[in-house]
Amino acid sequence: MPGAIEVHGLVKQYGPVTAVAGIDFSVAPGTVFSFLGPNGAGKTTTTEILEGLRRATSGEVRVLGLDPWSQGAALHRKIGVIPQDFRFFDKITPKEAIEYYRTLFHTKVDPTALLAQVELADKANARYDTLSGGQKQKLGLALALTNEPEICFLDEPTTGLDPHARRAIWEVIRRLKREGRTVFLTTHYLEEAEILADRVAIINHGQIIASGTPHEIIRTHGRPARMRVDGSPAIAAYLRDKLGVSVEASDDHLEVGMTRKEDAIRVLEALQASGLPWESFATEQDTLEDVFVRLVGQMDDGAIKSEAKP
């Protein structure tokens, strides 16, 4: 099955500056794809090229089988975009804004129903300049959905929003996926990507340094799972002695490597048998955020160049 988005060898240069240095990825239809990276990594440039707002320097880009730059008009009827820092006409209400887009796109959506979907129905008749940041962002989302798009591009849709508003937008993204639409999501919140995305790509300095499902990325690039015990170094010595495991100890806690889930039972039994005092026991695993911070940090230190290409 051809991807909803296909990118091969994409390069974008602004004069002497290379913003995107030859990236490849594809997004399967009906999935949520999250594009992650620190500020200035090339996220927004890539997104804008996919939306047909910028022209690629070289490489091949196909969105729904179309070239975004030269076939933008045809593409824009099939995609919905909510840009970073969405802004609209100050004196226009959300209901009027959707009616405006509805006429431009020749669709028949019901403004009230659409605003209810993004939890903005109570502000349907409030002027844009009286809306809060979260409400403005929700209007952007509603407008992006006015043409019932096959692909939604959401560029940092929850930045600066309160937790409640963020969850409302997450719910919309989940529903879009249930409806079979493709979602291209860039975000600063790794937790958001981990919760919502089917697949993730991490970009830094214009190159993709990791990609896959969140689970795959954590497994490939994260540290192994481990157990954490709050207790004295004496316990560390006891566990090493008794179980022959590697233990990293600091003043008030210790970490024990964990390869199988049975390891936890053995460690707990040994703790019980030792008679030494300990406070708490927990198993720990890297999150996508831990992996992200480490990968970006290593790359900035020059430790890795990019993910090996076939």
């Binding site: 047909g52 022209r55 824009h76 840009p83 969405f86 006409f89 004196k91 405006y100 887009y101």
Partner: protein, 370 residues
């Protein structure tokens, strides 16, 4: 061009405008204020009489009385007699100045005796250089009356007389009549120019053009809906200004349908020009500067407040390269002189410039960057 797109965008423009009190003030109330202000300044000149302080040293002789009566009968001046015992003739000049009078007249002692004995005698006129028009009017009136008295003394007959005055054109004009087309032109220029320069630049900065570029609306449709809005706005402002001028200053203008093409082509031109200026500029600051450089010469030199024919000769060609000159001159031709030939020529000039600027604006104006 899709009329439905233009209609939908027009609704957004109209709502944005009608909900913005500052924009409404500048487009509807500011023109009224302009008419009131300039009408008040200029409509008075020429219609009132010049007040003349008269020091009659000839002790109210019959001849001096007759002279003053004749002066009043010209209707150009009114006469106030000054008490000769409190103001001596040697102090008259400084007394006039101290009391802020513009014109004074001294009739010397022996005026009647000299007149009846056919001996030349001079009356003396005092004028204030700060108010040359009052001085000129009084001098003309005094000279006219003196000529009449001289003629009568020599038993001559006046051969050439001056009939009732007629004014240039088809009707009787006052300054306000010329002012109305000028000020309509002024608002046709300023209202779209300032707003379009600002809108073009701030919409780009705020990403609103980016938003629109992702919809099926085209740049030509977007610009057209704004042209339509400003055309309707110019109908409203022209109506308001004409009504104010007629009601308050009894302006005489021909209300012909010939005015409408100018109220359509004018806004078409300046909406496009504003958008072109805003598109060429990279920052809001430079947009404002470019907008002002284009707008200010036209605000004053295109016949808005003063007729171009009164400009110094070297300045007149400058006025004639300004597009607004042709809008205002054309409106003058249809509203005052019924000169269809020249009006049509002006209209053609404006139309050609407007089409060129519209196409240039569409070309330079970009929704998206490379």
């Amino acid at each position: 061009m899709n009329p439905r797109h233009i209609g939908a965008d027009f609704k957004v423009v109209a709502r944005s405008y009608l909900r913005n009190s500052a924009a409404l003030f500048f487009s509807l109330f500011f023109p009224i204020i302009l008419i009131l202000l300039f009408g008040a300044i200029f409509s008075s000149s020429g219609s009132t009489t010049v007040s003349v302080e008269v020091l009659n040293e000839d002790h109210n002789s019959a001849a001096s009385q007759a002279f003053l009566n004749a002066l009043v009968n010209t209707t150009l001046v009114s006469v106030q007699l000054v008490n000769t015992s409190t103001v001596p003739v040697s102090n008259f000049a400084s007394w006039l100045g101290q009391n802020g009078y513009a014109v004074g007249l001294v009739i010397p002692l022996g005026f009647q005796a000299n007149y009846t004995s056919h001996t030349p005698v001079n009356v003396t006129l005092f004028t204030n250089p700060e108010n040359p028009s009052a001085g000129g009017t009084a001098a003309g009136a005094v000279q006219g009356v003196a000529n009449e008295f001289n003629l009568r003394a020599s038993n001559g007959t006046a051969l050439i007389g001056l009939g009732p005055s007629e004014t240039v054109g088809s009707q009787i004009y006052t300054y306000i009549d010329f002012l109305i087309p000028g000020l309509i032109g002024f608002t046709i220029l300023t209202s779209p120019m300032f707003s379009m320069v600002d809108v073009t630049n701030s919409y780009r900065k705020d990403g609103i053009f980016r938003e629109l570029s992702l919809t099926p609306i085209t740049r030509a449709e977007w610009l057209t809906s704004r042209v339509i809005w400003y055309v309707l706005l110019s109908f409203a402002t022209a109506g308001v200004m004409i009504a104010t001028g007629v009601a308050l200053y009894h302006a005489h203008v021909l209300l012909t349908l010939g005015l409408l093409p100018y109220l359509i082509v004018g806004p078409f031109l300046f909406v496009s020009l504003g958008m072109l200026a805003g598109s060429v500029a990279k920052t809001p600051e430079s947009a404002a500067i470019i907008g002002n450089i284009i707008t200010f010469p036209m605000m004053f030199l295109a016949g808005t407040f003063f007729p171009v024919s009164e400009f110094p000769a070297w300045l007149q060609p400058v006025a004639k390269v300004l597009p607004l000159y042709y809008v205002i001159d054309g409106m003058n031709q249809v509203m005052l002189f019924s000169n269809e030939g020249r009006a049509l020529y002006d209209l053609l000039v404006v139309f050609v410039i407007a089409v060129v600027i519209f196409l240039a604006a569409i070309r330079f104006f970009r929704w998206r960057d490379e």
